[in-house]
């Protein structure tokens, strides 16, 4: 066995350790209420002795917690749909605004382009905390506090998709577009017949990266949504608390599923997106 193979093996082991938290959750979701409470007793009840423990394989696997959550908690579905609406709303908006903008930046020359693009890039770097006050004042002024639109609209205007799509659209050879123009193709046709198909890896990576980000959105809803019936899953989960641990594990797993699915289906594009957002070409 060469050194490289041993290294690879160690890497794989470390990678499995990285996956352990998810296995923990899955195991917890398959335990009955009693088994969870037994494992976590020292945390659940003040003054009890000893330490919490965990099993990667439940002794008495059961789907009871799933049934309980899915059948008996209508609130959970509301939150789930809120999350879906938020994520899909933001992504749709980003596509609608971002694709034309990136196309314009990538394929045309106009005065002030460099300056505008630099401003876009700087704005994309601002973390939410810096934008918190300005978002609040704006949403307050527009009457959009306590509404899903108040979260969706600012996020749909995020400049990150424009930046990422720009990188992909720049890769389309100009000669191709010039030839189509000579054949009489209109400017809008160029986007539909060349931009969208050839830039589709970019579009998919924006969707995958965006979905992982907005499915996970916490700061904005926390700050701007007082009405709990509008909350996304990500805010609801920590509220469940350790006392109802059985349900909390199931809810965590269900919240994880769509993101895991997006990751599994889009990993290649995810990597392309990460690389395109960081390197020059």
């Amino acid at each position: 066995m060469s050194g490289k193979n041993i290294g690879l093996l160690l890497c794989g082991l470390l990678g499995i350790v990285f996956l352990l938290p998810v296995c923990f959750l899955a195991a917890g979701s398959l335990m009955g209420r009693r088994e969870v409470e037994e494992c976590l007793a020292p945390i659940l009840w003040e003054g009890s002795e000893g330490y919490a423990q965990w099993r990667l394989f439940p002794q008495y696997p059961t789907l009871r917690s799933y049934v309980q959550l899915l059948l008996d908690s209508p609130g959970f579905f509301v939150m789930f749909w809120n999350s879906v609406k938020l994520a899909l709303g933001v992504l749709a908006g980003q596509m609608l605004l971002g694709i034309p903008a990136a196309w314009g930046f990538a394929r045309y020359e106009f005065p002030g382009k460099r300056l505008l693009f630099t401003i876009y890039m700087l704005l994309m770097m601002l973390p939410f905390q810096v934008r918190m006050l300005s978002d609040y004042l704006l949403l307050d002024g527009l009457g959009l506090l306590d509404s899903l639109w108040g979260i969706i609209l600012p996020a749909a205007c995020s400049t990150f998709p424009v930046f990422l799509l720009y990188r992909f659209f720049c890769g389309i050879p100009e000669a191709l577009l010039e030839a189509a123009r000579l054949d009489g193709a209109g400017e809008i046709a160029l986007l539909f017949y060349f931009g969208l198909p050839l830039g589709s890896p970019g579009i998919i990576s924006v969707l995958v990266l965006g979905f992982l980000e907005y499915w996970n959105l916490i700061e904005q809803p926390l700050a701007f949504l007082k009405d709990q019936s509008l909350w996304p899953l990500a805010l609801f989960l920590p509220e469940i608390g350790v006392k109802e641990a059985g349900i909390a594990f199931v809810a965590s797993v269900i919240a994880l599923l769509p993101a895991a699915l997006a990751f599994w289906a889009g990993q290649d594009y995810l990597e392309q997106g990460i690389i395109a957002s960081a390197t020059k070409e």
Binding site: Q53, E109, F110, L137, A260
Partner: protein, 279 residues
Amino acid sequence: MKYRRKTQWTGLLWILPSLLGVGVFIFFPFLDVVRRSFIGAVTGDFVGLANYRSLFTNRAFLLAVRNTLRFLGICIPLLLGLSLLPALLLDRQRKRGQLVKSLFLFPMAVPVASVVLLWRTLFHSQGILNGCLSRVSLAGRDWMNTGGAFWVLVLCYLWRNLGYDMVLWLAGLAGIPDSLYEAAKVDGAGKWVLFWYITLPNLLPSFFTISVLSLLNAFKVFREAYLVAGSYPHESMYLLQHLFNNWYRDLALDKMAAGAVVSAVVIFGLSLCLKRLWD
């Protein structure tokens, strides 16, 4: 053949919808905050730099800045180093590396809210981690309520971001032409020589971009910090983001405005460095 593109106003038309959105929802509101940072919260008069002066004498602000700098100073080098190792091993491995890469990248997809419960059970004073430690007769500690909280946060950050940085390192490594290695091997260079004189120097541009991006990503660790420990966590993990959140709850508009402008200036500075690397 390179085509010279003539100036086309149609380009601006493509951008117009996005421009309007960005203007209304991001750009002008931010300018308004810059204006507010020079205005007293109560009176509404122009107060010059008074808000900034009170910011830099504010105990909570200084604590948060110190903690944030300490956090970045520890996390970024650790992350860069730890992600480079697997990247070096996975470089030029094609198929076999893919699975390992997926394992490292996956935490990025795990919603923060899903793991909150786990962090709580893991790092509780009678939690699973202390249970394991006691079994090998090591003394545990109350992680979340001591200086240990800071290290829990570091761990969360590394767990979530290692794969991201690894992918970037791998892209950098893939960009080093094979011919360089071949030529050096012909000249009889050993493994370490190759690493020191070819791999490392050629990774330098990647190094800078990855550092800046990791820095910017570090702001998202607040999600974990907040969900696990709430608005008032242990002092050692009280970061700028907690401070902003608490200001927001108290509607301390003047401090928030000044704080936002100071943070934005620092971030803009970093981003411009990054842009120079790209251009």
